[in-house]
């Protein structure tokens, strides 16, 4: 049984309409941020969820943790149905499921000391017999994420730390309850290159040490190869391709995946890649294109693409793509 099972997950945000529009009987519009997403993550596996802004990848992460309520679909983590739980049950279950946010400064309470912030999950879930023991656990965690000396960092406020150090605090807070499943939402996107790799290394080490299952959400394909076992590519609320990173890098099937990979600027001036750059930008998710959502920008578009929605086809072992080019 997979650690995380996501089935047909949907989130449609209602668009605010004015009172007059409602009176005139204009229909309620919805932003279809996530529109039928399904995947499994095995225990100890890291699944990369890659997409541009507006693809719905961040919303997917929050839906899985039930930080926002889904419109439809189900999520099972460690065999437990997250959407069947009561508010109190899910609150207790948060010990096992955690999130690492993109912006560590915004994710930390500016009026709470670093040590207190990391200790708070322990207090909430009654881990450790006394404050003294909890403090020892926090010290150990601070040392583990390389915030040393721990007694000094314990007393600091988030404002007094650098971006990289703050993200280490967020990681420490997320991992101190030893969760089984962690969502990393663009966890290294805001950091500088030299710091980004440090943090990736730390996350990779901690993931192996604590045997964490992870959903690694990112817009940057290049960072996924170090940490992800498999990659899912998302476009306009739907997953278009899933495979191991070898599949995605060496043999991308979906035209969107191909475009995404070819658009990454390489730090290698002689390696002139053949670029497939689609025209225009991601369309409005209130009224997504019919059929395959990528068809208006696709360089291999066929008649059928605008008429019917493609299904997933297994092109090779563990490599699935949702595109009519591969449907027989």
């Amino acid at each position: 049984m997979a650690m995380v099972e996501v089935r047909n997950l949907k989130k449609h945000f209602p668009v605010k309409r004015t009172f007059i529009d409602a009176m005139l009987g204009k229909p309620q519009l919805y932003v279809k941020a996530v529109d039928g997403v399904s995947f499994d993550i095995e225990e100890g596996e890291v699944l990369g969820l890659v997409g541009e802004s507006g693809s719905g990848k961040t919303t997917t992460g929050r839906l899985i943790l039930r930080l926002i309520e889904a419109t439809e679909g189900s999520v099972k983590i460690a065999g437990k149905d997250v959407y069947a739980m009561s508010k109190e049950e899910i609150r207790r279950f948060r010990k096992e499921i955690q999130i690492i946010f993109q912006d560590p400064l915004a994710a930390l309470n500016p009026y709470m000391k670093v040590g207190d912030a990391i200790m708070h999950p322990l207090k909430i879930h009654n881990i450790g017999s006394s404050d003294k023991e909890r403090k020892r656990m926090v010290y150990r965690m601070l040392e583990r994420v390389n915030l040393t000396p721990p007694d000094e960092f314990y007393m600091r406020y988030p404002k007094e730390l650098s971006g990289g150090q703050r993200q280490r605090v967020v990681i420490a807070r997320a991992l101190i309850t030893r969760p089984k499943f962690v969502v990393a939402d663009e966890a290294v996107a805001m950091l500088d290159v030299s710091i980004r790799s440090q943090l990736l290394k730390l996350m990779l080490d901690l993931k192996n040490e604590f045997n964490i299952t992870m959903l690694f959400i990112t817009h940057d394909l290049a960072t996924t190869k170090y940490i992800c076992d498999r990659i899912a590519v998302m476009y306009l609320g739907k997953i278009v391709e899933v495979g191991t990173f070898h599949h995605i890098y060496e043999n991308p099937k979906h035209p969107y995946t191909q475009a995404l990979i070819s658009a990454v600027p390489e730090p290698d001036p002689k390696k002139k890649k053949k670029k497939i750059i689609p025209q225009g930008e991601v369309p409005n998710p209130i009224n997504p294109p019919s059929g395959c959502r990528f068809h208006p920008r696709c360089y291999k578009v066929m008649d059928i693409c605008s008429k019917k929605e493609p299904h997933f086809v297994e092109v090779e072992d563990e490599h699935k793509v949702s595109c009519f080019l591969y449907e027989k």
């Binding site: 541009e52 030299s194 290049a222 170090y226 730090p267 001036p269 930008e281 991601v282």
Partner: protein, 321 residues
């Protein structure tokens, strides 16, 4: 065309004097693109803004900024206003905040044109606007729209058109694609590449992304903690990096090569510019640091056509600093 000599930009702050840019020299030739690469806090943006002297009041600038042998450092604000937009223009990172939300796109252009060419006929100015918008791939009929009606990528195109409308000799682009998605970024880079040829202009491209400059720049300057640690031809930087920081930076950027799976990184973090290390500013993080690196700031050595600010190359060539 643009020659910068021994430029220093220091700020007064509560913590003391912040040496944001310290003794930097480089030049930009006709129709040449120089990539200015560094992490946040390296001083790359300060340097870019400093060339146009768009700096806070607490900044102190010394050294020389020679634009066709005309020094910009002693110029007054009024004289600078004539240069900005006309001779040198700038493309900013965030087009939403640098465009006035309540002004039509057209009015942004007309204002810029009229400031620099007083008494220009309205039709002529509109025609210039149309041409600039066409050049960046925007339908000129959209000029009566407001900035918010454009998508992120389109807004950045508007910014680029606005920077080019007066046909400047030099464009400074400060992280022009950082806030954009990869595919849109690739589109914008394509636009910039074509315009460079079409308008025959020089460019300074400021970015943190060594991937972006690889395709765009002729020469690359690598900044670290206010110092320019290396300045060389594009391919020299990528294939024969000299400075240990350049080497480490290149190794730590993720690429799409699937055989290269080791995660390399630079330990430690950049120094506080109010209290930088005494010698070489990279010394505390440098695997090759020697005693002298911690004591004396290295001069710039010229090694095989690259300019390197590092003591490792002392024997190879005579320093000029």
């Amino acid at each position: 065309m643009l020659k910068i000599e021994d430029l220093k930009i220091h700020y007064e702050s509560k913590k003391g004097l912040v040496k944001a840019v310290d003794r930097v020299s480089f030049e930009v030739g006709e129709q040449e693109t120089v990539g200015l690469v560094g992490e946040s806090g390296s001083g790359k943006s300060t340097l870019g803004f400093g060339i146009l002297k768009i700096l806070p009041k607490t900044a102190r600038v010394s050294g020389k900024i020679l634009l066709n042998n005309d020094d910009l450092v002693p110029k007054t604000e009024k004289e600078m206003q004539k240069i900005r937009g006309k001779e040198i223009s700038m493309i900013f990172q965030d087009p939403m905040t640098s465009l006035n939300p309540i002004m039509k796109v057209k009015d942004h252009f007309l204002e810029t044109i009229k400031t620099h060419i007083p008494g220009i006929k309205e039709e002529k100015a509109v025609e210039m606007t149309e041409n600039a918008l066409k050049a960046v791939g925007i339908n000129p009929s959209r000029m009566n729209e407001y900035p918010f009606q454009f998508s992120g990528g389109m807004r950045q195109r508007v910014m680029i058109a606005l920077a080019l409308v007066l046909n400047p000799k030099l464009v400074i682009a400060d992280e022009p694609t950082t806030s954009l998605d990869v595919i849109v970024q690739a589109q914008i880079l394509e636009v910039l590449k074509n315009l460079k040829k079409e308008f025959k202009m020089s460019m300074i491209l400021i970015t943190h992304d060594l991937g972006v400059v690889a395709e765009m720049a002729d020469k690359i300057a690598v900044m670290y903690a206010g110092h320019m640690v290396e300045f060389a031809e594009n391919e020299k930087i990528y294939y024969e990096p000299k400075h240990p920081y350049t080497k480490a930076l290149l190794e730590s950027i993720p690429n799409t090569d699937i055989n290269d799976l080791t995660l390399k990184y630079i330990p430690g973090s950049p120094p506080d510019l109010a209290d930088p290390p005494k010698g070489c500013r990279f010394a505390p993080r440098c695997p090759f640091a020697k005693d002298i690196c911690f004591e004396k700031e290295p001069p710039v050595f010229e090694v095989e056509g690259s300019k390197v600010k590092c003591w490792l190359y002392k024997g190879d060539e005579n320093g000029d600093g």
